[in-house]
């Protein structure tokens, strides 16, 4: 346990994080690439057609993973903000700052692909349905955290305000999850369930699981890259950054 704390403590220092993740990046990039290509080819070309929706359902292979990660990413951002507030960890706020545009982009992808899936399936790009509206709220929460980062002259005040907004916004996450059960919505109920059988044919489920794994890897990769960029920027006047090229 002591060694874990040591490891965690070292990871908490921006410099150690930078060097440690530098070693992970090639492997993470490789895993992301392989899984993304495999899942995309499988989902687009080899998974069977849907009996009711035809080929338009193939959007599920990016829509569902993007939606998953936009929700999981919100927890990452909120937890990073909480750790920053409680333990005053610099790195934690950097992760929070990196998670905001990433989450906003993935929420945008899930809304956009959802609209394009809705047109041939429901006959409309957009409805003010509980699931879709709560996802739009999520998108604005991400943008709010992002905007607060630039609203203060002091970085410390910006971090605190962003973290508080991120924490308050977590109320929205269970609402998104439960929206398809609580309200009568146009959006179809959850495809994957943690408990009980999923309502999807195995030949469609496997490529979907590959794509979800791919998006998780992608998320980790993008989050680490953005955090490293932020670390370099914040620590640009330190000796170790100067030694990166010269030494």
């Amino acid at each position: 346990m002591a060694s874990f704390y040591q490891w965690f403590h070292r990871l908490g220092a921006p410099k150690s994080f930078y060097f440690l993740t530098g070693k992970w990046l090639p492997w993470l990039a490789l895993a992301t690439g392989v899984l993304l290509v495999a899942g995309t080819v499988w989902g687009l070309g080899f998974a069977p057609q849907d009996a009711k929706q035809g080929n338009s359902y193939r959007i599920i292979f990016i829509h569902v993973p993007a939606a998953f990660l936009s929700l999981a990413g919100y927890y990452v951002m909120a937890v990073a903000g909480a750790i920053g507030l409680i333990w005053r960890m610099k790195l934690s706020f950097m992760v929070m700052k990196a998670a905001a545009p990433l989450g906003a982009a993935l929420t945008f992808v899930s809304l956009f692909t959802g609209a394009l899936w809705g047109k041939p399936t429901w006959g409309t790009y957009w409805v003010w349905d509980a699931r879709i509206t709560s996802m739009l709220v999520l998108f604005f929460l991400y943008l709010g955290v992002l905007a607060l980062q630039y609203a203060y002259r002091s970085g410390d005040a910006a971090n605190k305000a962003s973290a508080v907004l991120a924490l308050v916004g977590t109320v929205n996450i269970p609402i998104i999850y439960k929206s398809v059960d609580w309200w009568y919505t146009l959006h179809q109920p959850a495809t994957l369930k943690l408990t009980g059988a999923s309502t999807i044919h195995p030949e469609m489920l496997y490529p979907l699981l590959v794509m979800i794994a791919a998006f998780y890897c992608f998320y980790a990769l993008a989050l680490i890259l953005a955090t490293r960029a932020e670390i370099l920027h914040r620590e640009r006047r330190t000796a170790w950054v100067a030694e990166l090229d010269g030494g």
């Binding site: 995309t40 687009l44 070309g45 080899f46 998974a47 069977p48 057609q49 035809g54 080929n55 338009s56 193939r58 959007i59 990016i62 829509h63 993007a66 990196a98 545009p101 990433l102 982009a105 993935l106 945008f108 992808v109 956009f112 692909t113 394009l116 899936w117 047109k119 041939p120 992608f218 990769l221 993008a222 890259l225 953005a226 490293r228 960029a229 370099l232 920027h233 640009r236 950054v241 100067a242 990166l244 090229d245 010269g246």
Partner: protein
């Protein structure tokens, strides 16, 4: 097994092709952007640090030491 009879069939997807392909294309663009901007930003920072270091080195040297001594 591949689900389509021809490449053209794969493109049109019985009329759903536009929706499917545009979805995948936009997703690809967003994902590439998410990976490229931090790399560009990092490179930018490192370049600025290098320039700053070079300038500091110039100022640190005593006057005239950079030039060849006269005759």
């Amino acid at each position: 097994m591949f689900q389509f009879d021809s490449f053209a069939d794969f493109m049109t997807m019985d009329g759903h092709g536009v929706y499917v392909w545009v979805s995948y294309l936009i997703t690809l663009v967003v994902m590439v952007w998410l990976l490229v901007w931090p790399l560009v930003a990092s490179r930018h920072t490192r370049k600025a640090v290098r320039r700053g270091a070079a300038r500091q080195e110039r100022f640190a040297k005593p006057r005239g030491s950079a030039e060849e001594p006269d005759g």
